[in-house]
Symmetry: C2
Subunit: 218 residues, 2 copies
């Protein structure tokens, strides 16, 4: 209960830090100054310091950061020290693209099962991932102990699918449908709303054209 | 210069408010209380009030919100009162999926041009969108006066493509590549990093399992 509450914005930056540290480590670099880190990941150094402060003392004044230590710390924090299997529910256009999307490349997570109602896909292996019928979803998710699901079903069945996922013991949903699904308190939904992202971009271009090109990143 | 500075988090919620208001309007509803709005969009009412406060008085105490007025206000704010054309650069798996993705459905924006180096795609019309060769990109973007681009090229050519986009007068990039591209101050990048989203979800599940299931959305 005494864990510091890490803001969502900080949590979203952790993978960025982690990726760059791995890149540095692969390049044989031992340490990095906070200024270098800031420039590389495009996050101002005050924000980096605040982000890191949630995890205690990670660097040393005047020395900067030890690349390997910091990389290992984030690897553990992000659970990259062991493989996380996720399932994809809904193998339409976007689902297909996500099966091909290289989540696994240098990240310890992969889509290990997919579900759909399309008879042409069921029983096939797409991009290395088996496609099961929706009717087997709850059973397979339980057997495979998958707690995280990427949801790419049609909007009109999004909520009922989420209800099924709850029965299967799923704890996290990456929701690509445009609706806000309702889940119990012990489940978490990460919304990836592409229309929303595009509208936000249009909004910013229209409203901050000359005056304030750089916006606070929260 | 006197425009209020709208936080990124607020801007991201505007399309959510707008979508729900349109839904209410279509259903023939005239007004909505702040409590109803809060429950429907799953944003707490204090946050809604703060968000709306950036745009002046939008509701009346004891009355709630006038659905049509508010909808029209957000429509204008989000530039939904006229069509915004965007281009897609890189027609791979994800690019294909985005061409099929229904950005246009009830939103006044569409992908009107796509670019790729693949000879099999160039000159074809995919999901209603013409695919041009990359060599014509700058010219076509200028002719079509497209200022917003969805970037789905391979990582290794992301930065050089962004440089070309700058020459074409593009002002906003929705960046689906995992790298952080560098752009001049008058361009804006909206990063949609799917690996990052998934890692963040995994992180939250692991760290807030029992104690704090609901996180601040900022």
């Amino acid at each position: 209960m005494n864990k510091p509450k890490v803001p969502k914005a900080t949590a979203k930056r952790l993978p960025i830090y982690y990726r760059y540290l791995r890149f540095l480590h692969d390049a044989g670099k031992d340490r990095i100054s906070s200024t270098e880190l800031s420039e590389a990941v495009k996050v101002d150094s005050a924000t980096i310091r605040r982000d890191f402060s949630y995890f205690g003392a990670l660097g040393k004044r005047g020395y900067g950061y030890d690349v390997e230590n910091l990389m290992n710390f984030f690897s553990k924090t992000l659970k990259q020290d062991r493989l996380t299997n996720v399932a994809l529910v809904g193998v339409g256009n976007l689902g297909h693209a996500l099966l091909n999307y290289n989540f696994h490349q240098s990240n310890n997570m992969r889509i290990s099962a997919a579900f759909d109602i399309n008879e042409d896909l069921i029983g096939k292996i797409l991009s290395g991932v088996p496609v099961y019928p929706m009717s087997d979803m709850i059973e397979q998710l339980k057997i495979q102990q998958i707690e995280i699901v990427i949801l790419t079903v049609p909007t009109k069945v999004a909520q009922e699918t989420a209800n099924e996922l709850q029965k299967a013991g799923v704890k996290g949903i990456m929701n690509f449908t445009p609706i806000r699904i309702t889940v119990p308190d012990d489940m978490r939904v990460q919304n990836v709303d592409l229309t929303n992202e595009l509208q936000t971009l249009i909004y910013f271009l229209d409203h901050y054209k000359k005056e304030e090109p750089k916006l606070e990143e929260e």
